[in-house]
Symmetry: C2
């Protein structure tokens, strides 16, 4: 069974651990070898990963969501800190800070820097991000085919009232709107400045990344991970051609609500949903995604237990949505499959 | 008294500690503030530093000689290892190795990487290396004005018989000549492959770096550090216009022999001198530099005690040349000044 997942970073990666467990893979590590041919097995799980959060820092191309997937699926992520590598060191970051080098609110660990150096060198040599991600995966063996949503640059920016604005003496002018890079809004300001809207810079000219359309066309089941609907799944859907490919896909599409009792377990989905006038509830998110039969995204939607959710044209089921461990998450995937039937 | 020094990396930096001590500065650290104006004092010592050893690794521009000077003069160099930073960590290097990223024979420490990231970002933004070096110096306060010999790219390459050559079956063909980057020859092969010649790639199009000609024209004394005559001082002299500026400089030029009893204390000057058919002796080096009165470099030459050195047109004196500490080195500088009178 081939499963294709639309995924963001930390939450999406955690969901992918459960998808791997569901298809019988060890959640942490590679897909092993084919028992007949002895060759490296082709993973049955493909993730189309948001890369709208990507940022160039210190000249290095950082892909937070792809790295969260690589590191989590290989078992080398720091799950306590919630991002980056286990047993990381911070020597270079301290040194960069002592140089006064920006951005002080985004720390790169030393192990992480090595990944970014390899990636940036390959990108600068002309390789598309999809090829670079596959090359990094050769070391990490995530056991999942990780596909950037696009090989073109798409960057999520957040329009806010300029947080640095100071009115002149006697002036009654209000703060002008400015666009912050998503990471600045998310990491520096912890999504604490009200977002007016999100802009996916470059989206108009982007195309689905290498392998993305095929992964949708050949899937037996398409899942939408319980990632942030606005800034993780949103940028993926903003890639021209991707919505059309989802609409045309022969497989059923089942989403998983990122909210439990109207709250995200992690991250700032509430602040993001508010910015696009979507109610912060499973029903709000489900209706935002919409029924595929009416041009939206979903055939089915899995929500937390006890939620009262009605979405015209979408089958809804309840399940425990706490991703306590890969087995618990695999049960969510089983419920999604059930919904798709 | 303004002293300008032609310098390579490790040995040159050690010599500069003595020059600082000689002019009354703390060898380690900045030039302090002007006692009258309270502003940052302008260093009386300027070093024109070889940057022919520079190499781009993992996309980072590495300037070994400039960094040896920055780190040594600020007291943060690892003098036991002989290069790089004190209390360095190697997390990123281990990670790069696990990616199979080249070059495995050139390790970058984590602190060092931060310096290279800052430098590379500034260079890529269009700043000349001289401006970047000054910016790095704002943090390090080396107490010496460090000037790259050129703001253009000059890279020392070493022509050798291809070390990877394997003759085909039945073939009697010999290994062809190949040019290795200086760092590959020096660090990977430890200068163990006979050099046929050195090529300063880019030298023809290069110009003296910002401030270099002025530092020569306004100096009261010009010193040639006991650096490698071929691959440290050689590239400096290969910059078009630099020899002419040295010939025209009003100050006397005094060199210090890099050899004691015909041997370099450190590095591979013997292998380098052999490649250009210069005898590995103080007299060999002195005659290679030549008398300024005959179009060469030197007015005076300081050699180790007990050497029998005769160089037509050059005043020669003997002194202990072991740079045991900055004070001992300062005595060498005093002997150079004496020679210049």
């Amino acid at each position: 069974m081939k499963i294709t997942v639309l995924s963001g970073g930390v939450g999406g990666a955690k969901f992918l651990l459960g998808v791997k467990a569901f298809v019988g893979l060890d959640p942490f590590g590679g897909a092993g070898t084919d028992p007949v041919t002895g060759e490296a097995a082709t993973p049955d799980v493909t993730a189309i990963v948001n890369n709208g959060d990507d940022i160039r820092l210190h000249g290095l191309q950082v892909c937070p969501d792809l790295d969260s997937c690589l590191y989590t699926l290989s078992g080398v992520a720091d799950t306590v800190r919630g991002w980056g590598r286990l047993d990381e060191t911070w020597t270079a970051a301290a040194e960069l800070a002592s140089y006064g080098a920006e951005a002080p609110w985004f720390s790169l660990g030393d192990k992480d820097i090595a990944t970014h150096l390899v990636r940036t060198r390959m990108l600068d040599a002309g390789y598309p991000l999809s090829a670079v991600t596959a090359a990094l995966g050769a070391k990490w063996q995530p056991g999942v085919t990780l596909l950037p949503m696009s090989d073109q640059r798409i960057e999520t920016h957040v329009v806010v009232s300029d947080p640095a604005f100071e009115p002149g003496p006697g002036s009654t002018a209000g703060a002008p709107d400015v666009a912050l890079h998503f990471q600045e809004w998310w990491t520096r300001y912890r999504a604490g400045i009200p977002a007016k809207r999100f802009v996916f810079v470059g989206a108009e000219e982007a195309r689905p990344g290498a392998g993305v359309l095929e992964a949708l066309a050949t899937a037996d089941l398409i899942l939408v991970a319980p990632s942030n609907p606005v800034v993780s799944i949103g940028p993926i859907l903003a890639v021209p051609g991707l919505r059309e490919a989802l609409l045309a896909a022969p497989a059923r599409i089942v989403g998983v609500s990122p909210l439990i009792a109207g709250k995200p377990l992690r991250g700032h989905a509430d602040a993001c949903l508010a910015a696009i006038d979507v109610e912060c509830s499973a029903q709000g998110v489900g209706r935002h995604y919409g029924a595929r039969s009416e041009g939206g995204l979903l055939d089915g939607f899995l929500v937390a237990e006890g939620e009262d959710v009605q979405i015209p044209g979408v089958r809804v089921a309840e399940a425990p949505l706490l991703m306590m461990d890969p087995q618990a998450t695999a049960a969510m995937v089983a419920a999604c499959l059930e919904l798709s039937r």
